[in-house]
Symmetry: C2
Subunit: 450 residues, 2 copies
Amino acid sequence: MSATQARITAVDTYDIRFPTSRELDGSDAMNPDPDYSAAYVVLRTSAGGHEGHGFTFTIGRGNDVQVAAVDALSQHVVGRPVVELCADPGTLYRDLIGDSQLRWLGPEKGVMHMAVGAVVNAAWDLAAKRAGKPLWRFLADADPAWLVSQVDFRYLTDALTPDEALALLREGKQGADDRAADLLRRGYPAYTTSPGWLGYSDEKLTRLARKAVAEGFTQIKLKVGADLADDVRRCRAARLAVGPDIRMALDANQRWNVAEAVEWTKALAEFDPYWIEEPTSPDDVLGHATIRRGVHPVKVATGEHVHNRVVFKQLLQAGALDVLQLDAARVAGVNENLAVLLLAAKFGVPVCPHAGGVGLCELVQHLSMFDYVALTGTTEDRAIEYVDHLHQHFVDPVTISDGHYRAPTSPGFSAEMHRAGIDTYRYPDGRFWTADATPGEPGTDKEGHA
Amino acid sequence: MSATQARITAVDTYDIRFPTSRELDGSDAMNPDPDYSAAYVVLRTSAGGHEGHGFTFTIGRGNDVQVAAVDALSQHVVGRPVVELCADPGTLYRDLIGDSQLRWLGPEKGVMHMAVGAVVNAAWDLAAKRAGKPLWRFLADADPAWLVSQVDFRYLTDALTPDEALALLREGKQGADDRAADLLRRGYPAYTTSPGWLGYSDEKLTRLARKAVAEGFTQIKLKVGADLADDVRRCRAARLAVGPDIRMALDANQRWNVAEAVEWTKALAEFDPYWIEEPTSPDDVLGHATIRRGVHPVKVATGEHVHNRVVFKQLLQAGALDVLQLDAARVAGVNENLAVLLLAAKFGVPVCPHAGGVGLCELVQHLSMFDYVALTGTTEDRAIEYVDHLHQHFVDPVTISDGHYRAPTSPGFSAEMHRAGIDTYRYPDGRFWTADATPGEPGTDKEGHA
């Protein structure tokens, strides 16, 4: 079969779970014991060679439901010509969000929408691999009109029209080559959440905060929201550890009502927090606007649980955000995140993506790097979250040096996991979990604990 | 085993699908070919006797994902003491929405949240059956303080506090007995969508619209939004058929952008539409507020796809709604719908529930009847949607006479389906579907087509 006739032959899915809860990695006020997991997708082709890899991130239970949702989409994917798919992932994206029967289960939110994101991201991984470029470069090199064609403007035109998007992307092309060279030299700013998990002792927090500064990070993040007295003590310890010049963000993980968010944040203001993240429900646009007015000059950040472009649009329209935290795998993949980046650019709000979890750092770096090179042209007040867990499972893991993500150079979306890790952590039949289920014989491969 | 020791022993689930797409029943601008389906749940107990029945409604593909989501919740249900569960369904509701790992898949939206709704509604069905009352009466007879305890006020207190809710419910108790008697005598107002499906011919539309008026309905609803010229023609035909005194609601099923919604609605204003329903994305609170300002005096209605109480709160706060259309099975069941009814009462916005589908009429009538008897005390400008499909599959089907829902008198939530229907329409292994899959031997039981 010739390459031009090659088709997608299968959508393989894997339920992969890491036992992170055992060390309280990732613990916060709403998520005390996450087992970082991925509903992992491989698009196989009849061309041989490249595969498309993608996933959505969950924290354990329900990862099987997420896998079932991806499986429900596979009928839309299998049989597509590879060349057409890679030339226009937007058609796949529209077909997936447009399946009228599946749309009823959202629309465009929750399990089904995250499943769309996993599949769409896998298609972009395949497209970038076939182009021989890392995704950030694949996007940055693309024609602005083509990028606009990848966005679904339904429900957006009261805030952003295709013509406005085209103008932003054309402007972004000016000086893109210089910025790409700069990116390859310096990398993209990162901040770290590793010191601040709620389950960590003050001693561990202090030690990791100092380590973060020594490693070149200029911003750290602490989880708050479970107990005010604890938060005061932990913020004081962290501020003492890092000194006055390091930005210290706080993250409440949706714990509060609106008034409570304002009061609690003010009670921590003496420690000079940079932003308060997810102060309340991610669905509460008006609540975030009220909180933002109440906690100024502390900034308000949210986005990792914002379920689609329509909510991001409103957060921007309502002046509810200082910092937009898109997630690579919560919305419907690269296509919808292009819309979110364009909205943020239009409204002049900096994007500091959510990352961590399983492979979210690997994915989202490409979006921020594209934004710098070929859309907003700046990294000012922007930084990608960094958490040092589970990167060893990826074929092209992120590299951090001097508080910056190094720009990936391997083709693709950095989404591919090592086969050994998949085989070990497949749930419930992978080696780790079957060994773990044997009394007196705990899982033998603990590398996932990081 | 004594009754006080009885526990929930199993959560049985069924993927039930009716082939409604073959007659274009239920067709609209976004959903051209729905196969009305239910992810159906039975709570079995060790007490024998009563079971709890519940479901969530889907339109075909993905019903298996919905069933998988219910299955993921069953660990929280099996083993619960029946007496405790029925005395306080709110604890189950909070445990289900509070599972931190499953919450990541929302939070409180889409597939996982609808699954919670199915299970929670089944628990209320069980509780009402054990109390020997139809659910509306079970709720209306309940102590106001207990009803308040069934609501989760997280994310609501900037709009509605527990004290305010208690005051509303105490006020609602005044005259409740008289209203219950009135309800049993007159029923609750209904409007009908049966004439207006987009796939119907003008002749069928006209015939069914006249029939609706003859049957005592004072409001009908038409699907619009696919083609303006068609809509003008259909609205003219419908208005001619029903005369000037019948309310004619229009439903765009999320088809439009904000500006388009205003323009399109104005283009149909000459036919005196009563409301425009789902003019745009159900997530777009600010968009609905803009549309409402633009289409006045046509009213704006939405809610069947509003995914939780936080979005309803904002729609009310933003003045985005004239009519609130809650759905019995989209949010997390009776508990969350109590919050929605209380919010609507606080803001003085009439509730006209979404119904139709599979069994949504059977469920939601109880919520409106409770609202009339023991919360707002009025049916003015209120009506429950009615669609005459699939009722024959229910053990206690709705009864409509003279344009009113008759108040159910059998104990429970009217959620239970006949065993024969379940066995026939189980997908893919029920008799209808296995016969349908045999070449030359189409499904022999077509009663689902209604």
